[in-house]
């Protein structure tokens, strides 16, 4: 069950947002910014990267009843920095390094020392790039959108009146 955004504290909402950004970023992107940061924090594994599967749920048209779409491979890990801050990485696919980097960034973002730096230099540009890509994709998809409508042809498709008139046994 997903907690609705308005039930989260501001810190939780921010953390959810950056974890989503880290999960949607590619491993190459994260590796690049990680090298650029030149940070080398000490950390220990709470949970080494492991592969699993997760159930994907969806709604038809984005608004219908939720249904189970299928399962997707997921990689997760958890680590702890020397100061005790824990970082979690949950990413789609099977990349231990992607999950590790996501967990490292997640931990650093919670620290007073590096939080703002990583937030401004890593998360903000990544999120902006993702928003732009998303916008671009929906614009392209939107251009191919077709609206279907049923034309009335004199007989109502939803009414049983015609059948009843003919005296069909309905039992």
């Amino acid at each position: 069950m997903v907690t609705p955004a308005n039930k989260l504290s501001p810190e939780q909402a921010r953390r959810r947002a950056w974890m989503a950004t880290l999960a949607k970023a590619t491993e190459v992107e994260l590796e690049e910014v990680w090298t650029g940061l030149r940070l080398d924090p000490d950390y220990t594994w709470l949970r080494r990267p492991e592969f699993g599967s997760t159930l994907i749920r969806a709604r038809a048209g984005g608004t219908g009843n939720p249904f189970n779409l299928g399962e997707a491979t997921l990689t997760r890990c958890a680590l702890r920095l020397a100061d005790g801050t824990a970082g979690y990485g949950y990413v789609l696919g099977r990349s231990a390094r992607h999950a590790e980097l996501a967990a490292l960034f997640d931990a650093l973002l919670q620290t007073r020392e590096h939080g703002d730096l990583v937030g401004n230099d890593v998360i903000a540009p990544l999120a902006a790039g993702q928003a732009k890509r998303h916008h671009e994709e929906s614009r392209r998809a939107n251009a191919t959108k077709v609206d279907f409508l049923a034309m009335a042809r004199g007989v109502s498709l939803t009414s049983n009146v015609a059948n009843e008139d003919k005296g069909y046994d309905k039992s």
């Binding site: 949970r47 080494r48 958890a78 702890r80 005790g84 824990a86």
Partner: protein, 201 residues
């Protein structure tokens, strides 16, 4: 909703989840195949107190999202809850008879054996495995085990179980195929007592 896991003080799980789980599974299998024979479950050097290394290793190996776990009063501490919730993901239950696995670190205050899930006639496997942390495998009661997995008889020693345990065990044995299975742990060592085994003190 439950309280957040205190990750700053969380104890580590297995160093190598696959190999360690396999080794512990083998040891646990041996424990229940050769009742009364001491097995070493030593892949868990630093468990959260008051869990013994063998208890913690067994839990990491076997407990998961489908394993309701009951903790006795001594084991029901935040570090232990966090450890099990984080590494095993198992639900923690409040009543002994709701548990698939129960951990008893203080046998003198333990519920009687009949209070744990006994299984039913159609599904005897829906019974509990109860872990008793005992104080010694070299002193105390001399116990003779007879039954499947034991050639003639097997003599072992246990200290730290209440007197009623042996009477309850006789009743447990009589209920076969219903009844609980017991894992005795002491430090990094363990003895398995499947419900099919007959014990004499």
């Amino acid at each position: 909703m439950s309280v957040a896991i205190d990750t700053a003080h969380l104890k580590h799980g297995f160093e190598n989840a696959v190999l360690d789980s396999q080794a512990i599974f083998r040891a646990a299998l041996n424990a229940f195949s050769f009742p009364g024979k001491v097995q070493v479950l030593d892949r868990m050097p630093d468990p959260p107190p008051p869990l013994a290394p063998a208890t913690a290793a067994f839990m990491l190996m076997i407990a998961d999202l489908d394993t309701p776990v009951w903790l006795d009063e001594g084991a029901d501490t935040k570090p232990v809850q966090d450890f099990l919730r984080f590494h095993c993901g198992c639900p923690l239950v409040h009543e002994p008879d709701e548990a698939a696995i129960a951990i008893v670190v203080d046998p003198s205050q333990a519920p009687r054996l009949g209070m744990f899930a006994q299984g039913d006639e159609l599904y005897p496997d829906r019974s509990a495995t109860v872990i008793f942390q005992v104080s010694s495998f070299t002193q105390g009661y001399s116990v003779t085990a007879r039954g499947p997995g034991v050639k003639e008889s097997n003599l072992f020693q246990i200290d730290g179980l209440p007197d009623w345990f042996w009477r309850d065990w006789t009743a447990n044995y009589a209920c076969y195929p219903l009844g609980i299975d017991v894992l005795l742990t002491c430090g990094a060592e363990a003895i398995g007592l499947p419900r099919s085994i007959h014990l004499e003190t």
